[in-house]
């Protein structure tokens, strides 16, 4: 069974997904970071494939993408690093990346490799649903890959239903009209949006991302959805860390406890 499906079957709330950029802060940090995330008690690992032009990302993740590319990270190298990951990591792993590097790698080869190393799902934010359905869905399904779509406060109810219909795994709720990056607190408008979507009775679980950074914002998100995704705030921790293993543990513990 796909690990994402399994997770959502066994755990219904307070699910924490942690994003980091492959190749950041150091080129060889990928596996040690993944192990530390799992050891600290997070539920999902989201690995960002670095791209030169990440248009949905704020300054923090832009910077981690740049640094990772400077360090020499490529999709080929990432798959090499992930070759033995299932000996060390058991929680679901998702690859998040912009479409162009994936398309240049070759979508067939990419899906095959994902399956081979044990990747469970994909988030390709600039892959339109129409293209996904007409060109890629059968390929993703054949390799048991869950494809996650994003929704935002501006997404219409009809569109959310369409996304829910064509998604499995989970839906990524972008918390506000914004690019990625930590914000201070969750506003009443955001909570109204979380509740509006919650009341729609979607078949997929929902994780809230963008602007989640600490215990308080995580608890708020967890109260209105199945859990949350932390990206930029975690990149800050990695950026400032002298001892990755210890700092990752402390940060994730501070969020979930």
């Amino acid at each position: 069974m796909n690990r994402i499906d399994q997770l959502f079957q066994n755990k219904k709330k307070s699910i924490l997904s942690i994003y980091f950029t492959a190749g950041f802060p150091g080129l060889q940090d990928t596996l040690p970071i993944m192990e530390a995330i799992e050891a600290a008690g997070a539920d999902i690992i989201e690995i960002g494939v670095p791209y030169s032009d990440p248009i949905a990302d704020g300054p923090t993740i832009q910077e981690s993408n740049n640094q990772a590319l400077k360090n020499g990270m490529t999709l080929h190298l990432l798959f090499e690093q992930l070759q033995q990951m299932r000996e060390k990591v058991s929680i679901p792993v998702i690859l998040m990346g912009y479409l162009n590097p994936v398309v240049q790698y070759g979508m067939d080869a990419f899906c095959k490799k994902c399956k081979e190393v044990g990747v469970d799902g994909l988030i390709l934010p600039d892959l339109p649903m129409q293209q996904y359905l007409s060109e890629y869905k059968s390929l993703f399904d054949a390799h048991d890959l869950r494809n996650t779509f994003l929704i935002s406060p501006q997404t219409s109810e009809a569109r959310i239903r369409e996304i829910d219909q064509n998604t499995d795994g989970f839906i990524y709720m972008v918390s506000s009209a914004s690019i990625t990056g930590a914000r201070k607190s969750v506003s009443p408008e955001q909570i109204a949006y979380f509740e509006r979507v919650k009341a729609m009775g979607l078949k997929n679980p929902r994780l809230i991302g963008f602007g989640i950074s600490d215990s308080s914002s995580f608890q708020t998100a967890a109260a209105h959805a199945h859990g949350a995704i932390i990206g930029s705030a975690f990149i800050h921790v990695l950026r400032d860390s002298k001892d990755l293993k210890k700092d990752i543990y402390q940060y994730i513990q501070s969020v979930i406890s």
Binding site: N66, Y98, L99, N100, Q104, D126, Q130, S152, R159, A177
Partner: protein, 396 residues
């Protein structure tokens, strides 16, 4: 031949190029535009205002000028479409006038735009001043340094110019930043893209606003030559908006050769070039599938051209299709040759062209034509903004 029919399909594809590869956060904005732009552009209200502003404010129709001495030198009948005489000095304003009327019909309150050399930024700041709308222009920090006079022009016009500090700090990064800010302000803001790039419907919408260029050419050629069609149309291509406008009404006229001139920079194979059709492969940038200069790993490569307006790693999807289908002929002109052509036009016709447009003139030396041919070169902008580059080059 089906392949040669240049037409956008309902999903925004020209052949295999185009589409709308955007994050879901931008979907409502793009959808609103896609659903409304055709009906708004077709409405009598819109047409009346657009035509009036192009006439009374931009100064259209721009002349189609028979370039006597240039014709003599090259042995053909050469006409120049004088977009350099538009208000603000280039064709860019045709599009910004169209888009700002559209933005008002969509009840948008704020305008954002990207700019490279600053021409599109100035054209956007200009129409925002005209309409009393708030305007923010994103510009690469490196370009802001290189194009200071245009930064100040925008500020004089009341625009807020914001540096893009990511990546290479040039046009592509300014475009990224504008898209990010649109994600952050999805409801009240319209994004005026300056070229035939971006997600559908932008490439087609911008091309239609610019198509006034070839629409006028047809009428003017009929007056001067007794025929609507020239034998060749030549235009430079960065993203490709002036070329799209000059080609638009000739896309499906098989007897008209469409010559698209890219910037070869220091040489196509020098590693310092912007000749996308030679160096690019199909890829996805700024919301559309097009030819793109990129590494084997799919990272976007930074282009080079002496002219900031051609310094873009992709081309509009319609141009990728013109190339792919064989309908367009693509040539690449080096920095040095473009500069020489700029000086030559200055000396032969008394017109100092923008360095972008100067590329198109050098193409005369790189293509074959007959002495009986009627050639129209789209003189997309004037050289005032490039004086410093001419002076630095110094070879005149």
């Amino acid at each position: 031949m089906d392949k040669a029919i240049i037409k956008v399909d309902e999903n925004g594809f020209y052949g295999q190029f185009g589409g709308a590869y955007i994050p879901e956060m931008l979907y409502p904005n793009i959808e609103e535009l896609r659903e409304n732009y055709e009906s708004i552009m077709a409405s009598g209200d819109f047409r009346e205002e657009f035509d009036r502003l192009l006439r009374d404010y931009v100064g259209r129709p721009t002349p189609l000028y028979f370039a006597n001495r240039l014709s003599e030198k090259y042995g053909a009948k050469i006409y120049l479409k004088r977009e350099d005489l538009c208000h603000t000095g280039a064709h860019k304003i045709n599009n910004t006038v169209g888009q700002i009327i559209l933005a008002r019909k969509l009840n948008k309150k704020r305008i954002i735009a990207e700019t490279g050399a600053g021409q599109h930024g100035v054209a956007t700041a200009t129409v925002c001043a005209l309409m009393g709308m708030e305007c923010t222009v994103y510009m690469g920090a490196v370009d802001m340094e290189r194009q200071k006079p245009n930064v100040e022009r925008m500020r004089i016009l009341g625009a807020n110019v914001v540096p893009a500090n990511s990546g290479s700090k040039t046009l592509k990064d300014a475009t990224n930043e504008a898209m990010r800010q649109w994600i952050n302000n999805p409801v009240d803001t319209h994004y005026i893209i300056g070229s035939v790039v971006g997600p559908h419907p932008y490439p087609e919408m911008v091309a239609r606003f610019q198509s006034v260029i070839s629409a006028e050419m047809k009428v003017q050629l009929m007056e001067k030559e007794g025929r609507e069609n020239p034998d060749l149309v030549i235009a430079c291509v960065g993203g490709g908006s002036n070329a799209a406008g000059a080609f638009y009404h000739y896309y499906n006229q098989a007897d008209v050769r469409l010559i698209a001139v890219e910037a070869a920079g220091l040489g196509v194979l020098s590693g310092k070039s912007a000749a996308t059709t030679v160096l690019g492969k199909p890829g996805i940038l700024h919301g559309s599938r097009t030819l793109l200069m990129q590494t084997a790993d799919g990272q976007v490569v930074e282009p080079h051209s002496i002219s900031a307006g051609l310094d873009y790693p992709g081309i509009g999807p319609v141009h990728a299709h013109l190339f792919d289908s064989g309908r367009g002929e693509f040539v690449a002109v080096e920095d040095e040759h473009a500069m020489q052509a700029g000086i030559e036009l200055s000396r032969l016709e008394g017109i100092i062209p923008a360095i972008e447009s100067a590329h198109a003139f050098h193409a005369l030396k790189q293509i074959k034509y007959r002495s009986s041919d009627v050639i129209v070169i789209n003189l997309s902008g004037r050289g005032d903004k490039d004086l410093e580059t001419y002076i630095k080059w110094g070879n005149y």
